[in-house]
């Protein structure tokens, strides 16, 4: 009962805030709505018995990534930029985009409702996960079965750091 209530409340908050991200004029409000969207998502992850992912969601997304976004918004002094609503060169783009967005949602909804969730069950039932511990399980899998992708991820982050550094530096000089 409590679970259903939490799902409905958090799902509603999430969708409303996601709409706020897209339709707010001021980017700083968009960023704040995005933070609330991610926190609501973290609650949904807890409902799905993925506690580690929920904590990482709050720390990485709502913490690190959004701080980066807010920092860049502040850095770029948004007041000067916010004339985007003025001249609209692609006249029917918004209407068409919303129409096809609704079409996409209809397709996703129909496919989801029509399909029957089946397939072989794995070995990690919620009881077993809570017995071992979600974080321990993620750690164990990450350092055994998924050790190679894990190392690749470190290379990816390294490349992204260097790329961001070089891009920002080049922009400063010119």
């Amino acid at each position: 009962m409590l679970e259903s209530l939490l799902f409905v409340v958090m799902g509603t908050i999430m969708i409303v805030c996601a709409g706020g991200v897209v339709f707010q004029k001021n980017p700083i409000y968009s960023a704040i709505f995005l933070i609330q969207t991610m926190v609501s998502l973290a609650v949904l992850y807890v409902l799905l018995h993925a506690q580690f992912i929920a904590v990482v969601q709050v720390m990485v997304y709502a913490g690190a990534v959004m701080v980066l976004f807010v920092f860049v918004i502040m850095l770029l002094n948004i007041d000067k930029i916010e004339e985007e609503m003025g001249k609209d060169r692609l006249v029917y783009q918004k209407v068409t985009a919303i129409f096809f967005g609704l079409l996409l949602f209809a397709v996703i909804g129909i496919v989801t409702l029509k399909s029957v969730l089946q397939g072989t069950k794995g070995e990690y039932t919620p009881e077993k996960i809570s017995e071992i511990g979600n974080t321990q399980l993620v750690g164990k899998l990450l350092f055994t079965d998924y050790i190679f992708p894990f190392e690749i991820a470190s290379i990816l982050l390294f490349a992204a750091t260097i790329g961001a550094l070089i891009l920002a530096k080049k922009g400063l000089k010119e």
Partner: protein, 101 residues
């Protein structure tokens, strides 16, 4: 009483749709990047839902990697936006057309 997992998938689909519409509708490069984050989050929710459905941990590991990619994408994307603003003093994507024939 537990919630059918289909509801989570519908929620994920609507979140993805909002993100996709955001990319198409907005002209501010920062908001477009935020909409991309919305779509990545929708995919994460779908992954966790299927991980719960199949009683397997693989989906949650994938979410971990998607978060890594999203962090890298945000860092590089924002660096591009900053460099663009330094050069052309705009982040309106309609005004950025130097690579268009």
């Amino acid at each position: 009483m537990t919630i059918p997992l289909t509801w989570y998938l519908i929620l994920s689909g609507s979140l993805f749709t909002i993100g996709a519409v955001g990319v198409l509708v907005r002209r501010n490069a920062l908001v477009i990047l935020m909409s991309i984050e919305l779509m990545l989050n929708a995919v994460n929710l779908a992954f966790v839902t299927f991980s719960r459905q199949h009683e397997s941990m693989d989906g949650q590991i994938f979410v971990f990697f998607i978060m890594t990619v999203a962090a890298a994408e945000a860092a590089v994307g924002l660096a591009i936006v900053v460099a663009l603003f330094k050069n052309k003093s705009t982040i309106n994507v309609d005004d950025i057309n130097i690579m268009k024939w």
